[in-house]
């Protein structure tokens, strides 16, 4: 088990990653436009966070890389506020609830798929290391 970095370092790492994530999100959102960009960004970000968290769990470099890339890059890349503001501003109550439920369900599925993929990759790597030994 690795100990997390001190609070100040953690905050700085998350902030630096978030700045890059926010710019990437802004560029993609501007290039693609429309509500679907937000779905793509959030679901991709959730899947990548699952994958990253699974791959770096217990890893020595994960102590720094996890805050920088997880809550940092992917946390800043994905967003919650734009989803709820868009839903309140445009849809009727039934459509609003359906959209939020669908994104919540699909986001959780995406994160879970990322975690499962990470476990498969780690198992494969462990098996190959075992064979070489």
């Amino acid at each position: 088990m690795t100990t997390p970095p001190p609070t100040g370092t953690h905050v700085l790492l998350v902030a630096a990653g978030s700045a890059v994530g926010a710019v990437l999100r802004f560029l993609l959102d501007t290039a693609a436009g429309g509500g679907w960009a937000l779905w793509t960004l959030n679901l991709t970000g959730a899947a990548l966070l699952g994958l990253l968290t699974g791959l770096l769990r217990g890893h020595r470099s994960g102590r720094w890389l996890t805050p920088l890339l997880g809550p940092g890059l992917l946390g800043g890349f994905t967003t919650f506020s734009a989803v709820v503001v868009l839903v309140v501003g445009s849809a009727g109550p039934v459509v609003a609830v359906a959209q939020l439920a669908a994104m919540t369900l699909l986001g959780a599925l995406a994160a879970w798929a990322g975690l499962v993929l990470a476990r498969l990759l780690r198992r494969d790597r462990d098996v190959r290391a075992e064979v070489r030994r």
Binding site: T7, H10, V11, L12, L13, V14, A15, A16, G17, S18, A19, V20, G21, A22, V23, R25, F26, L27, D29, T30, N42, G45, A46, L48, L49, G50, T53, P67, G70, P71, G72, L74, G75, G76, F77, T78, T79, F80, S81, A82, V83, V84, V85, V87, V88, G89, A96, L100, M103, T104, G107, A108, A110, A111, W112, L115
Partner: protein, 127 residues
């Protein structure tokens, strides 16, 4: 889009990410794993974004800084999704359901309040 707009988004993103990083440190998960920090960040950011989009002019650098930058990075969907999965994997079904419902319910309410607040601000600030 100019380089200034991108710089505004980056600066706002840095500040929003820092606030979320700090919130998740001081408001760690409760004993049953409820992610209070992310909930606080998501609800606060929804209120702030609702206010920003109605109070600030569309396409302005100020809105890029406060909206896409600060509020976008303060709030997060990826951690919300992964936290739900982790809670479900630990068989904390009720906590997971409570977390999802509270996040979405309070987020919607905060966004609606923010939209009203921003409209009011915009009207009272313009002569």
């Amino acid at each position: 889009m100019t380089g200034w707009t991108l710089l505004a988004v980056a600066l706002g993103g840095f500040a929003g990410g820092a606030l979320r990083g700090w919130l998740t440190t001081v408001l760690g998960p409760t004993r049953d794993g409820f992610p209070r920090g992310v909930l606080a960040a998501n609800v606060a950011g929804s209120l702030a974004l609702g206010t920003a989009v109605t109070a600030l002019p569309a396409g302005s650098a100020a809105l890029a800084l406060a909206g896409a930058g600060f509020c976008g990075a303060l709030t997060t969907w990826s951690a919300f999704s992964l936290d739900l999965v982790v809670l479900l994997e630990h068989r904390r079904h009720r906590t997971a359901a409570g977390y999802a419902l509270l996040s979405l319910g309070a987020g919607l309410l905060a966004a609606a309040l923010g939209l009203l607040l921003g409209t009011w601000l915009q009207e009272s600030l313009t002569p």
